[in-house]
């Protein structure tokens, strides 16, 4: 069986074709221009991951929202659930850059952190 992928690891976006045998094991990878492409395809077949970036509500800040992200890519099938979970959280200002918002999000071992600070009024 053949499966096609577009690699997302760099802007080039190689179109990669993999051939799988009856057990689902990869027998051939073509179209990639580097090793990262092959690694990407292997990961997509076994443990596809994405970085989630979203926002979290902040109370008492100069902004109503704080941008947050998963420090590392999380399993793809957790992305929507995590986004929904993050909608229910409200932080108190000030929030500092890199502040952990959720530790070990959804049991992935990966933290969700603030990507920028949100000050309290008065510049704190």
């Amino acid at each position: 069986m053949e499966r096609k992928f577009v690699c997302i690891r760099c802007p080039q976006g190689c179109e990669i074709t993999t051939t799988l045998n009856g057990n689902g094991a990869i027998t051939e990878i073509t179209g990639n221009s580097c090793r990262i492409g092959a690694d990407f395809v292997k990961a997509e077949l076994t443990d596809a991951r994405r970085t989630l970036t979203t926002t979290v509500r902040v109370s008492g800040g100069t902004r109503p929202l704080c941008p947050v992200w998963t420090e590392k890519p999380v399993p793809k099938d957790k992305v929507l659930d995590l986004a929904a979970q993050l909608r229910t959280i409200t932080l108190n200002a000030p929030v500092s850059a890199g502040q952990i918002i959720i530790k070990n999000a959804a049991g992935t071992g990966i933290n969700i952190v603030a990507s920028a600070p949100v000050m309290a009024p008065g510049g704190k």
């Binding site: 997302i8 690891r9 760099c10 802007p11 976006g13 941008p67 986004a83 990507s115 920028a116």
Partner: protein
């Protein structure tokens, strides 16, 4: 706040912040950034997605984090940033007028000015989508600001026109916040943004993409009620009978960016009609002595890292100018030749390339006219002579090509240079 500064930077986005930092580090005295928004960072605070920083920080960062690094450095260096302030005019003798509600009407004199106003989005009128003028037609950047900064959702059911990166990124963003993105339509027969964004923003969320399709008409008087799409042929003309009506309450436009140069024109800066931005040399100097330009105000970049790089070049050279370490140069032009849509810089200082021994790297950014599927060569020609050649695996109009050219390679140049692209 002073009334005179060695260097004044217009815009605290990625180009302006990098320029101010580099100017300060190079030795400029007082450096001021004037920013119209209420926080520094330009568009980056609303670009909460990752994908920034691979060149400068060797890391994959979200936009706000990328900006934060620069903002902190600027603070540490004692660079003044005046926020919520609009520059109204710049004169060729480097006088600046601006206004805000805190300090009132402001007048500055600058030793050097760096233009870093960025760009704006093309609008509905630029592409003339017919129909009424209901609420619910927004540019992608406006929606991005509403959703990510203001905390407001402008619609429930979206159709997106344009497969540029901002459009696709907003498709994902809206989906993550519970809106429905019904379809992305693209006039061209190919994606205009990066393919990886197609995968992670559309495919991952099962958002359909229709290529060679455009919006024929907006339906709805008060609020958008539907859009009518139509397929187009190879010459981009609508194919009758292919209309489809999609019920929706919002149309989001991601149909390109235009350098924002109203202030540049007031200052007497000459623009390149191919890029829409100031014609600059490799130091990002414009035709007006002491006025530099960097970032999307010069040409639309794909990667913010290169915007910052251009800012750094402009910052260094603006500082050198105020320190009297810059002579009035002679130039060879850099001309887009076969297969090339535009080139930045538009001219190169001959004294920079005269010395075989000197080995400074200059950045040349170019865009091609059409897609090259396989190997291409980008050559810098002096008449028939190839001075520099670079190979790329492919070339696409949507993707900017950055050449890092060692000036010693151009040392033999005898006149204007031409940049050509060919598959040989």
């Amino acid at each position: 706040m002073n009334t005179t500064y060695d260097v004044v930077v217009v815009g605290a986005g990625p180009a302006g912040l990098a320029a101010a930092i580099e100017a300060k580090k190079t030795g400029a005295g007082d450096v001021l950034i004037i920013e119209r928004n209420d926080e520094p960072g330009g568009i980056l605070p609303q670009c909460i997605h990752n994908g920034f920083g691979s060149v400068i920080f060797k890391k994959d960062l979200p936009g706000p984090a990328y900006a934060y690094n620069f903002i902190e450095e600027a603070k540490t260096l004692g660079i003044e940033i005046v926020l919520d302030t609009m520059v109204l005019n710049i004169t060729p003798d480097k006088k600046i007028t601006a206004a805000n509600s805190r300090d009132g009407f402001l007048e500055f004199e600058a030793g050097a000015i760096i233009l870093a106003m960025g760009c704006r989005e093309r609008t509905r009128a630029n592409i003339r989508v017919p129909g009424d003028r209901p609420a619910g037609v927004f540019t992608a950047g406006t929606v991005q600001r509403l959703v990510n900064i203001e905390g407001l959702m402008p619609g429930k059911n979206f159709v997106i026109l344009g497969s540029g990166d901002i459009g696709m990124i907003m498709a994902r963003r809206l989906t993550l916040e519970g809106a429905n993105v019904l379809k992305v339509v693209e006039l061209m027969p190919c994606l205009t943004g990066l393919r990886r964004n197609y995968v992670q923003c559309l495919q991952d969320f099962n958002i359909p993409l229709s290529l060679s399709t455009t919006i024929k008409r907006i339906i709805g008087k008060k609020r958008v009620e539907a859009v009518e799409t139509v397929k187009v042929d190879e010459s981009l003309n609508p194919i009758s009978g292919t209309q489809e009506t999609i019920a929706c309450d919002s149309l989001l436009l991601s149909v390109g960016l235009i350098p924002e140069n109203e202030l540049s024109k007031k200052a007497g800066v000459i623009l390149d009609p191919l890029t829409g931005g100031p014609a600059v040399d490799e130091n990002m100097a414009t035709n007006i002595n002491g006025i530099y330009a960097a970032g999307n105000v010069v040409t639309i970049y794909d990667l913010v890292d290169y915007v910052s790089k251009a800012g750094m070049i402009a910052g260094t050279n603006a500082a050198l100018y105020t320190m009297g370490k810059s002579s009035s140069p002679k130039y060879y032009r850099l001309i887009p030749g076969d297969g090339v849509r535009s080139v930045v810089p538009q001219r190169i200082n001959t004294s920079n390339i005269a010395l075989k021994s000197s080995s400074t790297e200059i950045l040349i950014e170019l865009r091609v006219l059409h897609e090259f599927d396989s190997k291409v060569f980008i050559d810098i020609m002096d008449g028939d002579k190839v001075l520099y050649s670079h190979m790329e695996k492919y070339a696409r109009p949507a993707e900017m090509i950055t050449l890092r050219v060692d000036t010693s390679k151009l040392a033999g140049a005898t006149g204007d240079l031409t940049v050509v692209v060919s598959s040989k």
